[in-house]
Amino acid sequence: MLVVTCPVCGAEGDETDFHYGGQAHVRRPATHDPANISDEEQRDYLFIRHNPKGLHFERWRCDRGCGKWFHAARDTVSMEFKAFYGISELPPEELQAQAKGPWADYFKSRAKA
């Protein structure tokens, strides 16, 4: 039973008071350019998941608190939470630096923007 802390309302509680929302920072193509989405893009959005053994960026909802969605960075082996941050925010710099795969690219692109 993990202990989760909501960065929005500060509620701390057992994982059962929260709702896990899977991989974070997944881009929904249709929101941006609905007319031009390849089957590959749509597949990646719907199914392909970055599934690392180690640092994982994910979504949670403060189900039994303020009801807000937020982000967390967690180690999938030790289960240690490295950070909780807002749903529209990026993880702390040092964690962005450790990010791999699609996350690394995404954080870089956001940094540029």
Binding site: M1, L2, D14, G21, A30, A35, R59, S78, I87
Partner: protein, 1006 residues
């Protein structure tokens, strides 16, 4: 000795000789004292034999001291209160307790199963993988049933458990596991700085094995010191102590389970309302493991005979219960600790001598023993044990380290053996969540190393086997834990008294004692007693290539008995090490899994059984439905009225009556479970256009529109009618099952994708009781209800909405229909719901109003060809598949699921499409879920082309109707397809459109 030949005339710190307790063992009534365990009381009566082993059914007696006991398992209690497989060493005596031995037939002393022992030579470890294969069918029908009967331990009770259980959540700054000297000292150190300390101990009394330890703390005995420490702690308001409570598991983030036996020891408590067990869910800031160590048996020939016990257990028997293990015994050891047992026995007037495998034992305790006149045979081992149901004599042989054979041996008459192979730290909790361990030659065992969690181990649990170091570790750990909690570095408040304890000689590991006869031929050196795993079995596993210790474990089942290897684990590794020439660390150790000791399923379920197992959601009309004798059906967690059979009426007849009532007169449905969500904000319209496949920004205020929702995969997930209350304000209806899911779904998209939208979503499902008044006379009923608004067909047309009052009842009213009849859905605040329901029935009586249930509703809508999410759809169905193309916007650039509809398979050929079906025989009702085939063959397999989704006998049409998803169905109108049923019967049906009744829809808007 009053029928208790082994009860000593004096002594016994745990028992109260003034309180005599009567109990029974295998039907024989016995006497014990308050404070006795079943083990001590039965041993006091002179009985040695407690049970039979798992595989060979060998006679077995008590070996251990507490929860590590692997042999003396008994069933306790009768009837519904029977509980199997309890350790006799832990079961506290109470008047009338009834215990039985297990795994024997017909009786404990004469057990047919023991023939296995005679044949044991043919049953080496893993033998069953090599045989029982021929003929093929015999495994299931001959071999396995035999094995199943022979295996298993105790019997399960046959009735429902009459006792109650509960959970309790607690948070502690510092959790201390174990109330021995180490735990008590750590608790004092931590508590000194005011943090919340929780001290948990498995036994009824604190102190651990202080009462079995030598030495002085200050000027008192360890036991007296422990008592004073406990007294000090009980005086502190920031310390809580749980006894009879085992911490069974350590999980992520310092979450621990503790199993409290609240009422097992005292039926009176249960009668007074106490739960039998309470499961504590503990969240701890810091954990300190002071869980002590478990003594190792020694591996020698026939070391499983009743009367062969652990040295510490023998000591406890005398010191705590005033029971002698026998008249004359041998202490067999490889370390100094067992000499304490020899001294205790001598003092109690029991005959004793020592066989020590070490060449030159000379620690302080050894010298004391010699001085006390106890004969000590150094460089000696037990090479044979005589007697089967008990010990008659042993042979003591000269021994040199590494020597495999017996050269000289002497026979010694004795009736018990106290053995000690050293002590294993109780690492279990340390390892449950991934703690690392390291091997320590000094104790010839593993001890804690590093851990990722905020957890520390002290004392024997940490491999520290002397008092002085233990208490220093305890103070340090207690203070460190407190600092970690409150951040403040405080100077130590604890002044430890001077400690004086006997200096101890080194332990010399002895993993295998040579035996009379050839090396390892026919002798049984038991490693895992309960599972009958011998040293020979472990070596065989290695020989056969099951080299990984996990393979050895699984191949031989060593360590897999109910003690989970507590006493056998390290001994097994020792044997493997000698067999392979690898060091024990090289061999590695099997993973420790929770729980530390088994705990009841009842305690895991806690209070959530029977009525509390899962909530039943009740509508405001639930009582009325119940009183009316409704048959209910679960819809999600709701209970909805399925139908209302009258006296002597069966379900089917009732449903037909309800359907015809709606078609010809008027019916009343409790639709309160429908999901209701208020959606408001400047961007509400645009937001709904994203959520629904069809368009809601064009909906006029006061009007209703039916909407479809897909998931991102393009599959239908929900539907319902949404009304526009104002330009920026909508009220959405969802399916009953979908209410919570959809409101969360809307919130998710608002918060995570379209964060710039100004929209509020507030679920209001339970605010409203909602009823459908449906049927040709619905309007008349409404008129009778003193409505303060125009209910004429023109003033209140189909798919429109009004708010107003019916008499004193405030209502929201929707002219919508799921039955195909003129229909009004009336919503009123839930606490007024029952009142309005009654009022409607009164008002409708003269029009023949009848309540109707969900099944009638389903038939009514099927007659009209309306889909039900979950019947016509199953998570793989698109709007196109069910012929609702018209409700999928072509204009909108994006809405949930749109893009997926373009994936090749979803828009591809040969999709299953929703059609109507009319069976050739109108009285023939197709079965639910029946499949149509491309071509009927005389036997399977046959190629399937689709399945029935809804099927009913329509009382309205006087014939059967069905809907089905059929490959290319839309292109097959008029085609007759075949449904091969069970028993070769084939039903033929013609494909039609899905609207069977009132095709032009005139009745709805009448």
């Amino acid at each position: 000795m009053s029928g208790k030949p082994y009860r000593l005339p004096a002594g016994g710190s745990c028992i109260d000789r003034a309180k005599s307790i009567s109990f029974s063992f295998d039907g024989k009534s016995l006497q014990g004292f308050a404070g006795d365990t079943v083990a001590s009381a039965v041993l006091a009566s002179g009985q040695r034999l407690f049970g039979r082993s798992f595989k060979y059914h060998r006679p077995r007696g008590v070996v251990g001291l507490g929860s590590e006991e692997m042999n003396a398992l008994v069933g306790v209690g009768v009837g519904a209160r029977h509980e199997p497989n309890l350790r006799a060493t832990q079961v506290e005596l109470y008047n009338g307790l009834a215990a039985v031995s297990q795994n024997r037939w017909p009786s404990l002393s004469f057990d047919i199963g023991s023939v296995n022992n005679k044949l044991s030579r043919f049953f080496p470890g893993g033998f069953y993988y090599k045989t029982f294969m021929w003929p093929k069918s015999f495994w299931k029908h001959v071999y396995e049933p035999f094995i199943r009967r022979a295996a298993g331990l105790g019997k399960a009770p046959e009735e429902r458990d009459p006792d109650s259980y509960e959970h309790m959540h607690i948070h502690a700054d510092v959790l201390i596991v174990g109330g021995g000297i180490a735990g008590l000292t750590a608790a004092e150190a931590a508590a000194a700085s005011g943090v919340k300390v929780l001290l948990v101990d498995e036994n009824p009394v604190l102190g651990g094995i202080a009462d079995l330890s030598a030495g002085k703390i200050g000027d008192t005995t360890p036991a007296a010191y422990a008592a004073s420490a406990e007294a000090r702690l009980r005086g502190l308001s920031n310390v809580h102590i749980l006894t009879r409570t085992t911490v069974v598991g350590h999980f992520h983030h310092n979450y621990l389970m503790a199993f409290e036996r609240v009422g097992d020891h005292d039926p009176a408590l249960l009668a007074a309302g106490a739960p039998r067990h309470r499961l504590w869910k503990i969240r701890a800031g810091q954990v300190i493991l002071a869980s002590g160590a478990l003594e190792r048996p020694l591996a020698f020939a026939n070391n499983d005979r009743p009367g062969i016990m652990l040295a510490s257990a023998v000591r406890a028997l005398v010191e705590r219960y005033g029971v002698a293990p026998g008249k004359n015994g041998v202490v067999f050891t490889n370390n100094d600790d067992a000499y304490l047992t020899a001294l205790v026995l001598k003092q109690a007037g029991v005959g004793v001598r020592v066989a020590d495998s070490r060449a030159r034992p000379d620690g302080a305790l050894v010298q004391q023993a010699r001085a006390a006149g106890i004969e000590v045979n150094a460089a000696s081992v037990i090479s044979a044990v005589e007697g089967s149901h008990g010990v008659k004599a042993v042979k003591i042989a000269a021994y040199r380290k590494g020597q495999g054979r017996v050269i000289t041996e002497t026979r010694v008459d004795c009736d018990f053996v106290a053995m000690s192979g050293g002590w294993n730290p109780a690492l279990h909790l340390w390892c449950h969540n991934g703690g690392k361990i390291k091997f320590d030659d000094a104790i010839a065992s593993f001890r804690p190393n590093t851990h990722g969690d905020a957890i520390a181990a002290i004392g024997a649990a940490n491999g520290t086997m002397n008092l002085a170091e233990t208490m220093n570790e305890a103070v340090a750990a207690g203070e460190a834990a407190a600092r970690a909690v409150n951040g403040k570095a405080k100077a130590s408040k604890i002044k430890l008294p001077a400690i004086d304890e006997p200096q101890r000689g080194a332990l010399e590991p002895l993993w295998f004692a040579p035996a009379t006869g050839g090396y390892n031929e026919g002798n049984k050196h038991f490693i895992d007693f309960q599972n009958d795993v011998t040293a020979a079995d472990l070596e065989l596993a290695q020989r056969e290539g099951y080299e990984s210790v996990e393979h050895t474990k699984r191949y031989t089942t060593f360590g897999m008995a109910t003690d989970q290897g507590k006493t056998s684990n390290i001994n097994g590794l020792g044997v493997l090490s000698e067999a392979t020439g690898k060091s024990i660390p090289e061999i590695g150790i099997t993973t420790y899994r929770p729980p530390y000791t088994p705990y009841s399923f009842g305690s895991i379920a806690g209070a959530l059984t029977g009525k509390l197992f899962l909530p039943v959601r009740r509508t405001p009309i639930f009582q009325w439905h119940t009183e009316r004798g409704a048959v209910f059906e679960p819809v999600g967690q709701w209970r909805r009225a399925y139908t209302y059979p009258g006296a002597g009426e069966d379900k089917h007849a009732a449903i037909n009556r309800e359907i015809l009532g709606v078609r010809n007169k008027v019916g009343l449905l409790d639709a309160s479970t429908l999901g209701k969500i208020e959606i408001k904000g400047p961007d509400a319209a645009e937001f709904l256009d994203r959520m629904y496949t069809n368009t809601f920004s064009t909906l006029k205020v006061g009007k209703c529109r039916y909407g479809l929702m897909m998931n991102e995969l393009g599959f239908l997930t929900d539907d319902g009618v949404t009304v526009r209350l104002a330009d920026d304000h909508y009220l959405m209806h969802t399916t009953s099952g979908g209410a919570d899911r959809i409101s969360a779904w809307l919130e998710e998209w608002l918060q995570t994708e379209w964060t710039h939208y100004k929209v509020f979503v507030t679920p209001v499902t339970e605010q409203w009781a909602q009823f459908a008044i449906a049927g040709p006379r619905a309007r008349e009923v409404l008129q009778k209800l003193e409505s303060d608004f125009d209910v004429s067909n023109e003033g209140f047309p189909h798919m429109s909405f009004k708010t107003g009052r019916l008499g004193a009842y405030p209502v929201r009213i929707f002219r919508i229909s799921f039955s195909g009849e003129q229909s009004y859905e009336v919503a009123t605040p839930a606490n007024l719901g029952r009142g309005l329901w009654d009022a409607i029935l009164d008002a409708g009586r003269e029009y023949g109003i009848e309540p109707y249930g969900t099944e009638a509703l389903h038939v009514l809508r099927a007659e009209k060809g309306y889909i039900v999410i979950g019947d016509e759809t199953d998570g793989t169905v698109t709007p196109f598949d069910v012929g609702l193309d018209g409700l999928v916007s072509k204009k909108k650039a994006d809405f949930i699921g749109k893009r997926s509809l373009e994936q090749s398979y979803l828009k591809g050929p040969n999709r299953k499409q929703l059609v109507g079906l009319l069976t050739e025989d109108p009285q023939e009702v197709l079965p639910d879920g029946a499949y149509a085939v491309r071509e009927v063959k005389d036997k399977p397999p046959m190629e399937m082309i689709g399945q029935v989704t809804s099927t009913y006998m329509s009382p309205t049409l006087g014939r059967s109707i069905a809907m089905a998803l059929i490959e290319n169905g839309k292109a097959r109108m008029g085609e007759v397809i075949s449904f091969p049923l069970e028993g070769g019967k084939v039903v033929k049906a013609k494909i039609t459109d899905t609207v069977f009744y009132d095709k032009d829809g005139g009745r709805i808007s009448a």
